[in-house]
Amino acid sequence: MPLLTVTDLRTYFHTRNGVYRAVDGVSFSVERGETLGIVGESGSGKSVTCYSIMGLIPQPPGRIESGSAMFDGVDLLHCSPKVARSIRGKRVSMIFQDPMTSLNPYLRVSEQVIEPLLIHEAITKAQALARALEMMEAVGINDAARRIHFYPHEFSGGMRQRVMIAMALVTRPELLIADEPTTALDVTVQAQILDLIRRLQRELGMAVIFVTHDLGVVAGLCDNVQVMYGGRIMETAGARALFKTPLHPYTRALQRSIPALQLKGEELFTIPGLPPDVSKAIPGCAFAPRCVFVKDECTAARPELVEVAPGHAHACIRSRDGQIDLGA
């Protein structure tokens, strides 16, 4: 049985300007120890998916319209707040993009790292501090015994991200949700943090949901990848299959947009048009207005996510019928 199964999740934001369908019917599952990558551009609903699972959607204006998120037999979306609290922060943890804003600047790092332990476990402060110290060392903070008593501003960006990872992992969660944890960091520091997440995942045997817009990061880290666009899943596959044989035009377009894969001096490949306006209902495929292979049938009805090979599913009716050549 998968560790987490999300079924038909719909998270809408009801604002004065209309209903924003940020996440519009998303289903996926994560096995124990698996790394799932969620890739998409801004506004594709990848972060809102994670926030919904963690119960971090501000309600109102947000509302989870439908769906379930079964974590080890408990529906995180519909259980009592008490049950949710016992899971969130203990068995499921989250790290965020910006370590500058997600640590409390008024509290010493020690207070923040031991907080989840004091809340979730019957433990004394001294024991908690020892565990926190162990975790700080595990995430590669030198001189942890002294620096654990520092304030967040005394750490560099990469070190703050390490502190946040220590805070998330101190309770030894079974699932870590990482929302663009390396986007704000330099490439050299990003490489350190990715190595760290990979190593800790092996040691703790936890599952990771890794949200990013960088296909390069996904290639090295994830077992499975799902590509989101306009609040929907466009394609989901094993990392290797997704890169070698993408079956959805959007995945292929995203891949072709990476400057590293293009010849120097040539014009870069671009996806024409703009990301979809999710405040209006999109009857057909969300990518249809920007797709070069679009046909009338694409805008008529919403294409289902259909599995075409073991573990490889996509939502393109034209690709499924073999009518188009993505030239991968």
Binding site: A191, A219, K264
Partner: protein, 328 residues
């Protein structure tokens, strides 16, 4: 060969650190830019890369004389900007324009596109009030925006469109050099490609020089003719872009290139990566000798003794490492 339009000779920008309550005393300096010698030819795209805090943005601001220079000379078209009078500086600013990273912050939210683009034209007396409309329309078309949007405000545009407005504003005065400080970092991959194509096309079409600052090496490789790699206020490697990034010579450039994730699972999982330990040292108290030696895998005793000069490292290439020949 086209002549040098901009020359930097041993440019230094230090920010003093003061201490003391009533009697302020200078106790040190942040050596943000510490001896940069560089030239830019007419029509050339020079990429400037490095981690955050390496001084690349300060160098840009130094060229524009937005921060006082501590030492050295910035020479634009044969004129030393450090010695220019206010009136001369104003004239020079016409030739030197800047595009900033965040198009959300760099446009005045209370000015329409028309007002934003008309202001530099009127301030510098480029054209009379009667011609402004035509010139604004022309600028908007140049960057791929329909002139009918001229009466809209920045918040009505997407990130990519806002960056186009910022580019149009920079082009309004027909500058000779544009300095773009991370112009695509805040944009999505597909939008990034559009803006990069636009910049490349404009530079070719108008024979503009561009100093392109970025931390994303694959983007820099694509757009630049030459690339300069900065570390702690100094240039450590300089040469043709594709050459430097495909075959880096300096140990720091090697580590930087190796840290970029490759968007291919097979390559990414099998390749040897150099993961640098630690963070860049503080520019307040840089390490003696080569600033990179504490993190360098090839460092020897001699590296601590003197600051290595840029030495030839192949055809039109230079690198600042005394062990170049030994570590090839």
């Amino acid at each position: 060969m086209a002549e040098n339009i901009l020359e930097l000779r041993d440019v230094k920008t230090h920010f003093p650190i003061h201490s003391g309550f009533l009697v302020k005393k200078q106790v040190g300096a942040v050596r943000a830019v510490d001896g940069v010698t560089l030239s830019v030819r007419q029509g050339e795209v020079l990429g400037l890369v490095g981690e955050s805090g390496c001084g690349k943005s300060t160098l840009a601001r130094t060229i524009l004389q937005l921060v006082p220079t501590t030492g050295g000379a910035v020479i634009l078209n044969g004129r030393n900007l450090g010695e220019a009078s206010r009136a001369e500086m104003l004239a020079c600013r016409r030739d030197l324009q800047m595009i900033f990273q965040d198009p959300y912050a760099s446009l005045n939210p209370r000015m329409t596109v028309h007002a934003t683009l008309a202001e530099p034209l009127l301030v510098h007396g480029i054209c009379g009030p009667s011609e402004v409309q035509a010139r604004v329309d022309e600028l908007m078309r140049l960057v791929g925006l329909a002139p009918r949007f001229a009466r809209k405000y920045p918040h009505e545009f997407s990130g990519g469109q806002r960056q186009r407005i910022a580019i149009a504003r920079a082009l309004a005065l027909k500058p000779k050099i544009i300095i773009a400080d991370e112009p695509v970092s805040a944009l999505d991959v597909s939008i990034q490609a559009q803006i990069l194509n636009l910049l490349a096309e404009l530079c070719r079409g108008m024979n503009l020089s561009l100093i392109f600052i970025a931390h994303d090496l694959s983007v820099v490789r694509h757009i630049s003719d030459r690339v300069a790699v900065m570390y702690l206020g100094k240039i450590v490697e300089l040469g043709p872009a594709a050459d430097v990034i495909d075959h880096p010579r300096h140990p720091y450039t090697r580590a930087l290139v190796s840290a970029i994730p490759v968007p291919d699972p097979d390559i990414e999982r099998s390749r040897q990566r150099i993961v640098l330990a630690g963070d860049p040292p503080s520019p307040i108290n840089p390490p003696p000798g080569c600033a990179f030696h504490p993190r360098c895998p090839y460092a020897i005793e001699r590296c601590r003794e003197a600051v290595p000069p840029l030495i030839p490292a192949g055809p039109s290439r230079e690198a600042a490492c005394i062990r170049l020949a030994e570590i090839a």
